[in-house]
């Protein structure tokens, strides 16, 4: 089922950034999930946030100035 839905992932340079971002987004009521970084995408830390592309702008805006997102990629 994971495969049929389209998702994007936000990558971070450290686990603590990913965790901070998750907390901020959860608080803001934006759905996202912490998942291991897919093997075809590399990143310095092993976890990333997965979300529906619909929330991309909201996520970027919400995290702006709070947590550095190193990259956003389609899954």
């Amino acid at each position: 089922m994971n495969q049929v839905k389209e998702f994007h992932v936000a990558l971070f340079t450290s686990v603590s950034y990913a965790l901070r971002a998750e907390k901020i987004l959860k608080k803001a009521g934006i759905p996202c999930r912490l998942i291991p970084v897919p093997r075809h995408i590399s990143s310095d830390c092993g976890v990333c946030l997965r979300f529906s592309p619909d929330y991309r702008k909201q996520i970027v805006d919400t995290l702006a100035g709070k947590v550095d997102v190193s990259d956003i990629r389609p899954l």
Partner: protein, 204 residues
């Protein structure tokens, strides 16, 4: 020859285990059960093993579930092929059992442990083949209740045929039995015997 298993009055997961054993020896099996949960679980087992499933509802809440091998070439359902699938070589016969004994993975830092256990459960979905059974006990049961962040993953695993057993003593201890949202409540007899019968047993 159709093998008939009368599993009336038996609690989950016993009917599933009996069905699985019978299907290992026989192509066509009919299971008689009187428990809705068992119907769902046997249906999933049938789907996982690529059997055609036909369910007849009889009087008194009794169900006859017919499972038969699909013979037409190309009809056999194949697990969804995914480029991210984590293929592995099974190193021996017997089921792959995953035991989740805590809602953290590893010891030391709780916040990190919680990140790791969520990642681990998510990654289980990419294992090919999937685990046969996942057993939850102690604080691990907190991952199988309503509002758990891994509920989606566990439901997907269950739909794909993994049987999920949750320690009833534990959900009772934490007062969360009513909020169980995936798998079925199990007891120490089943948990011990399934662990004893494991081909491989993973405890993250």
């Amino acid at each position: 020859m159709v093998r008939i298993i009368d599993a009336k009055g038996l609690a989950c997961p016993v009917p599933v285990i009996l069905t699985k054993k019978a299907l290992e020896q026989q192509d066509d099996v009919t299971v008689i059960v009187d428990d809705d949960v068992a119907v769902g679980n046997i249906k999933r087992l049938g789907a996982k093993l690529g059997r055609a499933i036909n369910i007849e509802m009889k009087e008194g809440g009794v169900f006859h579930i017919h499972l038969s091998r699909i013979t037409e070439a190309g009809k056999e359902p194949v697990a969804e092929k995914d480029t991210n699938a984590l293929d592995y070589e099974s190193c021996g016969p017997g089921p792959l059992i995953v035991v989740i004994s805590s809602d953290r993975m590893g010891r030391g830092d709780d916040e990190l442990g919680y990140v790791l256990i969520r990642s681990f459960i998510h990654t289980l979905l990419t294992l090919n083949p999937l685990p046969d059974t996942i057993i939850f006990y102690n604080t691990g049961v907190k991952l199988a209740v309503r509002d758990s962040e891994v509920l989606d993953d566990l439901k997907q695993l269950e739909e794909a045929g993994t049987s999920i057993l949750v320690c009833g003593t534990c959900t009772n201890y934490f007062g969360i039995s009513d909020t169980l949202d995936v798998g079925c409540i199990s007891n120490m007899y089943d948990i011990t015997s399934i662990m004893a019968g494991a081909g491989r047993l993973i405890t993250p």
